[in-house]
Symmetry: C2
Subunit: 179 residues, 2 copies
Amino acid sequence: MTTAYFTASSVDGFIADPEDSLSWLLSRDVDREGPMGYDPFFAGVGALAMGARTYRWLREHEDGWPYDVPCWVFTHRDVDLPPGADVRVTTADVAAVHAEMVEAAGGRDVWLVGGGDLVGQFADRGLLDEVWVQYAPVALGAGAPLLPRRLELRLEEVARNRDFACARYTVAHETVRPG
Amino acid sequence: MTTAYFTASSVDGFIADPEDSLSWLLSRDVDREGPMGYDPFFAGVGALAMGARTYRWLREHEDGWPYDVPCWVFTHRDVDLPPGADVRVTTADVAAVHAEMVEAAGGRDVWLVGGGDLVGQFADRGLLDEVWVQYAPVALGAGAPLLPRRLELRLEEVARNRDFACARYTVAHETVRPG
């Protein structure tokens, strides 16, 4: 069971541009079933978590709710819930929610969708195991940061998937939690 | 003849940490002669340019001056010149200096060492051809930005070199200069 941050990024480490747009990303070519692609990754996922901005973006841009596994949304605001979907709004501590997610995932992986600061909160508690970055071929110069933390990683895998340079890292837990 | 920005970066797009340290980088394992490594890259370089911070870092950390090709340093400050080295301090426009560099390079490549804003000034003038990034396995969360510009790239090559995920891009010139 792995808790993974799987995300696209600009080459300079931004996951959204200053207008919260993903046009720089969605215009690129990728094989979802290819190396380090979304489909094989998501096939192993049993629960997911995201922050308010990521959730709002999905609700505004996706036709219906795209996930069939439980999703926790960390927000203090009222949110419009998609009918029939298992979306759980929370303001609880990430460690408490993580325990619920692991149980709900039933042996499958936990996906931290973003944003970067929410993922950082999981990392702060030693709950982040892997980081998968798909670098789109663009520099943005500004926007929402990939992972606003100082965090030691270990490179596990590098691949090209069409327009994307992909890298998978494990988090060097020994630097944040002994034993 | 190519004008290339060849640099290491954290996974989240910083080329130096907030203390201007490179300890996060210099502790990693890399094969300088390996895939997308420094030695084959530098073998093709005939001239180089850098900003004041990069120059100061080199002077403080390198034993003597490490380059045997002409180097332009963009700074308005007085700088201590290494004896016997071809270091040319300039406050001129990057396009004028670029023409001098190309001539001095005699058919070899121009290396923009950094920092990111100086490289951005070359990009603004359509003078940046390639970006080579060697991602070290660490998130820094803050520091000196890789390339503070919005710039379209094309992915040419992906490689692993020991601890580093490496990507080479060409700059999509058609988006910045017609014809």
